[in-house]
């Protein structure tokens, strides 16, 4: 008759417990690593400003255009302006922020026009009478052109106005500014590419002078 054998024994060390421990540690390490990677990706990605899209045009030749001025007087062709610094400003009469930057553009135009800098306003998705009224009301002295079908705006990658591009004498885009531009920003970007001794306004410091 069997009386013994009722003792319970702990399973030997070779069973499920010990063998799995290094593998479990590896799995835990992999999970921790994956979570850390995901956390890092999210933290860097979510901090990035999705609106700060770097223009692919920077450093590349500016798209050419030949556009008629709003008063129909003449055609402004970018190719004809090679050798001069050109500031291209996209605006519209319905754009409130464009009114905000208008004095800055005006001041920069007055300062640099004698140095050969050209400022061109490109009307964006606007109606003709409103645009003309705006120009008359603000006293805009620089040439303003119409952009039928927004073909030029599309070529420059315009998202929303105001957008201002600075083009160097070699025809390459040196700066793009989204939103109202300030006088200081315009001065900085223009003087950056303005050739030496271009006859600035008296009182304006030449580049490199103390």
């Amino acid at each position: 008759m069997m009386t013994g054998g009722a003792r319970t024994e702990a399973p030997p060390a070779g069973a499920a417990g010990g063998q799995g421990r290094p593998r479990r540690a590896l799995l835990l390490g992999a999970v921790v690593a994956a979570v850390a990677l995901a956390a890092w990706l999210l933290s860097t990605g979510l901090q990035r400003d999705p609106t700060a899209i770097r223009s692919p045009l920077l450093g590349r030749p500016a798209p050419d255009f030949a556009l008629r001025t709003l008063d129909g007087d003449r055609t402004v062709r970018l190719g004809d302006l090679r050798g001069r610094v050109v500031v291209v400003n996209f605006w519209a009469s319905w754009c409130a922020e464009c009114r905000v930057e208008h004095p800055a553009l005006s001041a920069a135009w007055n300062r640099f026009r004698d140095a050969g800098v050209m400022l061109v306003g490109v009307d964006f998705q606007d109606d003709h009478p409103s645009a003309l009224a705006y120009l008359a009301g603000t006293g805009t002295g620089w040439p303003v052109v119409a952009d039928p079908g927004s073909r030029t705006a599309l070529a420059y990658g315009v998202y929303g106005i105001p957008e201002t591009f600075v083009i160097g004498p070699d025809g390459r885009v040196t700066a793009k500014h989204v939103g109202p531009v300030t006088y200081d920003q315009l001065v900085r970007e223009i003087t950056r590419v303005l050739p030496e001794g271009s006859g600035r306004q008296p009182g304006a410091p030449a580049a490199g002078s103390p």
Partner: protein, 179 residues
């Protein structure tokens, strides 16, 4: 000996149908992948061709909409520019590249099939292949674990290693001290 044959037969009974099922699944997935890579049926009318390109472009103004769906005037003008490009004989790829030159890669809704965009096309297939491989290796490991101890101790099939060791100890004690 008959015991060992009995131990291995149940392990193999489900193996062949499982492998067959895996092969069928892989062939089906391969066919799906080939169809997906080929893309939808080519558009025929000019409007359809414009639409086909416009659905792959992101509206710069309403950035969660495609150029095909967006009501923004700029999107409308982009569609008009696409139509002009097609009428002038430009290829869809050339038209897309024009927008990329102006707006950057972010204007594409479908990742480009080169450079970083290639990752989006290749990664799912790689992950699937990796998963299948991991599953195959795991199955193989389970079968090996089930089959190996049967050679050492004669016991019923499906007995775990721990149980076999317990059994061996009990048998040893039985032989030392039989009731």
């Amino acid at each position: 000996m008959a015991d060992q044959a009995a131990a291995s037969r149940p392990a193999r009974a489900w193996a062949r149908p499982a492998v067959g099922l895996a092969v069928v699944l892989l062939v089906a997935l391969g066919a799906l992948a080939a169809v997906a890579a080929r893309g939808p049926a080519p558009a025929s009318t000019p409007a359809e061709r414009v639409h086909a390109i416009a659905t792959g472009l992101r509206c710069p103004v309403c950035r969660d909409l495609s150029v095909a769906d967006s009501p923004a005037p700029l999107a409308q003008q982009m569609r008009s520019q696409i139509a002009e490009g097609l009428a002038a004989g430009k290829s869809p790829e050339a038209i897309r590249l024009e927008f990329v030159a102006a707006y950057g890669e972010s204007v594409l809704l479908v990742p480009a099939r080169r450079g970083v965009g290639l990752v989006a096309w290749v990664a799912p297939a790689l992950l699937l292949a990796g998963g299948v491989l991991a599953a195959v290796l795991a199955v193989r490991r389970w079968r090996a674990r089930g089959a190996a101890p049967a050679a050492s101790t004669p016991s019923a099939p499906g007995t775990s290693r721990a149980d076999k060791v317990l059994l061996e100890r009990a048998l040893a004690r039985f032989e030392e001290d039989p009731p």
